[in-house]
Amino acid sequence: MSRNGALALGYHALFVVFMLAPILVVCWVAFTPEGFLSFPTDRWSLRWFYAIGRYPEFIAAFWRSLWLGALSSACAVAVSVPAALAIARHRFAGRGAMTALFMSPLMIPHVVLGIAFLRFFTEIGLGGSFTGLVLSHIVIVLPFALRLTLASAVGLDRALEHAAVSLGASEGTVLRRITLPLVLPGLVSGWALAFINSFDEVTMTVFIAAPGTETLPVRMFLYIQDNIDPLVTSVSACVIAVTVAALVVLDRGYGLERLLAGRAGGER
């Protein structure tokens, strides 16, 4: 089916196995019927998925992560849209520096950001608070939101806006009826990409989350630090399922290649 030779296809198969193995292994172990880590072969069980229900901290952390992701991505998009319009349409002094500043959370190691936020939030009395989590997540997901809104703002046909103005539309109407609907696809996918990045973020969050404000990845990370048991594999399997579902939606709606291709950095 392709122009690749047998050798290339063999290499490709090994590569795909390498990329998928750790993810599939987690899902496989999650179905173990045993009380310890094992690879189920003949008997499969959902006991470890039911077991999640007995650990309210995982459930609470899941909902917190969901809210945090939704809220911080929405704020990041809201702040990105005017900034993207400014960067896309105007040539002004400091434009490059400003863009670099907004993209900087991709460049700065998240450990450094985590430390900086921990120090800062403790000083201003927001240490371990949900507000602090939201503020810090807005900043770290903003580059993703900005990149996609920027891409759609650059591709926007200004003739449509001029046409609306010449037909007597006010500035507010143009923004509401023409500009925003045109950048909407970029806005929605920017939100989705920002959400996934917030939902998966662990390195920065582990520094600023207190016992009452832990996100799901942080809860999982701290749990794994103590011991690895089948419970954490079933939680991980659920997280993987949520991400894969979001990925498929994103790929259908926007195209994963287009979504990621401009992306130049930033760990989970």
Partner: protein, 293 residues
């Protein structure tokens, strides 16, 4: 739109007004905390007195002269180096193979290979911990059954394990960078080389490789920076015993509570990384200036 109505001065300030919310946010939540962290690295700390807001070089002197910290930074950059090399060596050919695939497969496998980028690092590293897991780990079983090794290799709490897991975590960035470079490649040049009698390997070496090298290098810069600052993967694979710079800073902050020292480690990591990334980017740009023209 409203430009003519608002007059020249309003237009000039418009971009600043539009980006004001983001600018204020970044000034308050990025610039100030980072400046505070740099300042923190010069403060004093004691077991009982806590953080003392003085200006001393104690922490910097300690981190830069104590072999314990040097070993930690050495390990961090050694791991980052191997991860970068491995992802370039294995990721670049894969991107090339992907690029030559036909329509449905190309999209499917691109999703399969880039998708893991968005799956939780904790879940992916957990997968490696399970695969490595002691003598019964699947990787060791597979290698032994293939006759490649006779005794199980230690992966957990070793640099080898960290390198393998991090290579997996960061591989999509390399594939993505090379893939992007391949998109700008004119297939007619390859065809011309073949028509002129070049074999497949000559085409790869003389035509394809030189054109995707900028992509490989920019991928390498990203992978190196992310590998050197990775936290969750080294923390899970290395445990508390095998530390890298980022897990060391974490320990200083949340276990030892010596914040000034932790801040010093973090700032040093940031400075070294920024220097390496900017230096490498400069070199790449200069070297390939004529290519980008």
């Amino acid at each position: 739109m409203g430009a003519s109505r608002l007059g020249g001065r309003a237009v000039k300030s418009a971009p600043y007004l539009l980006s004001l919310p983001a600018l204020l946010l970044f000034a308050a939540i990025v610039v100030v905390p980072l400046a505070m962290t740099v300042l923190l690295s010069f403060h004093d700390w004691g077991q009982y007195k806590g953080i003392e807001p003085v200006f001393i070089l104690k922490n910097w002197h300690e981190v830069l002269s104590d072999p314990y910290y040097l070993e930690m930074f050495g390990r961090t950059f050694r791991i980052a180096f191997f991860v970068t090399v491995l992802s370039a060596v294995f990721g670049a050919p894969e991107a090339y193979i992907l690029n030559r695939m036909r329509s449905p497969w190309r999209g499917i496998f691109l999703l399969v290979i880039l998708g893991p980028l968005l799956i939780s690092v904790v879940a992916r590293t957990l997968g490696w911990a399970l695969l490595f897991g002691g003598n019964s780990g699947l990787v060791n079983k597979a290698l032994m059954s293939m006759g490649l090794i006779t005794a199980p290799l230690p992966f957990i709490v070793t640099e080898t394990g960290m390198v393998v897991a991090l290579t997996h975590v960061l591989m999509p960035y390399m594939v993505l960078a090379v893939w992007a470079a391949l998109q700008g490649l004119d297939p007619q040049i390859e065809n011309a080389a073949v028509a002129l009698g070049a074999g497949p390997f000559t085409v790869l070496r003389r035509i394809v490789l030189p054109q995707v090298t900028p992509g490989i290098l920019s991928g390498a810069i990203i992978v190196f920076a992310l590998a050197a600052s990775a936290f969750a993967t080294p923390a899970i694979i290395g445990g508390r015993r095998l530390k890298v710079a980022s897990t060391l800073a974490y320990d200083e902050f949340l276990n030892t509570l010596n914040w000034p020292l932790g801040a010093t480690v973090a700032v040093l990591l940031l400075v070294v990384l920024v220097a390496i990334v900017f230096g490498a980017s400069r070199l790449v740009e200069r070297r390939y200036a004529q290519v980008f023209g």
